[in-house]
Amino acid sequence: MKRLDWFANPTRFLKLARAVQPWAGWVALAAGVSGLYFALFASPADYQQGESVRIMYVHVPSAWMALFCYTALAAASAVALIWKHPLADLAGKATAPIGAAFTFLALVTGSLWGKPMWGTWWVWDARLTSVLVLLFLYFGYIALNGAFDDPTRGARASAVLALVGFINVPIIKFSVDWWNTLHQPASIIRAGGPAVHSSMLVPLLLMALAFKAYYVWILIIRLRAEIAAGKLRAARLKDAARSGA
């Protein structure tokens, strides 16, 4: 745990975070602009889905990030509960809104893709329903985290919720194999390698990189804000104690 301890020091972390933040932002922008160029403009239409296949380049990376962020949230919650690292609590709190945004985008873009391709905005099947549950897990985490006057109690309660809710992540991943669903099975992360041509794989991976870098970028901004808010809270408590004395 020595290595984790080293990172858990907020001062050292802030130094590292300030150095990484602009790089993450620029990578997100560069990958996003080139990804959009291929996704919307240069890549071919699908022989079955026509131009609507372009929705994939925003839908699939959003869905990947929805699961990635929840996994990060559960990992941060485990570290916070077991080793009580103060930064782990803040990392979870900073991740939840980003994950909720990506989950919302996966659902909305999926709906916008489903209408022309499946003929319906929504079906209550295993994949769609389990992703909707994921969105509510994020909302529950955020609400519970902020529900206590004492932030450490909120952090602990919401971390337990995040860990219990993690069972939903493998359910989402394998829902398309376990149940009959309108949603297609995995075509990138599967045994036998990706089943997508490179002309479509390149924009997909560029957009995925852009979203991943965006996550790192926003996570650092939110973590810095949380650390500053924590210092502010401590300073105000000290002030109040002084003026009371």
Binding site: S62, F104, L105, T109, W113, A235
Partner: protein, 61 residues
């Protein structure tokens, strides 16, 4: 040919799926920009409040 399209008009129309394709990317851009602005504003406010508190502590007699 421009990109994968025969004309700019076809690019805009997205093979009659324009509303769905542009809608998807538009909502994604709006939400991601919104999360960024909200996060940056929270950081700015917290750091400004912290700086003010520091100033006051330094000027205390």
């Amino acid at each position: 040919m421009i990109g994968a399209f025969a004309s700019w008009a076809e690019f805009a129309a997205m093979g009659s799926y324009g509303a769905f394709v542009w809608g998807s990317f538009g909502i994604a851009a709006t939400v991601l920009a919104g999360v960024w602005l909200q996060s940056a504003r929270a950081l700015k406010q917290a750091e400004a409040a912290l700086a003010e508190l520091d100033d006051r502590a330094r000027n205390r007699p």
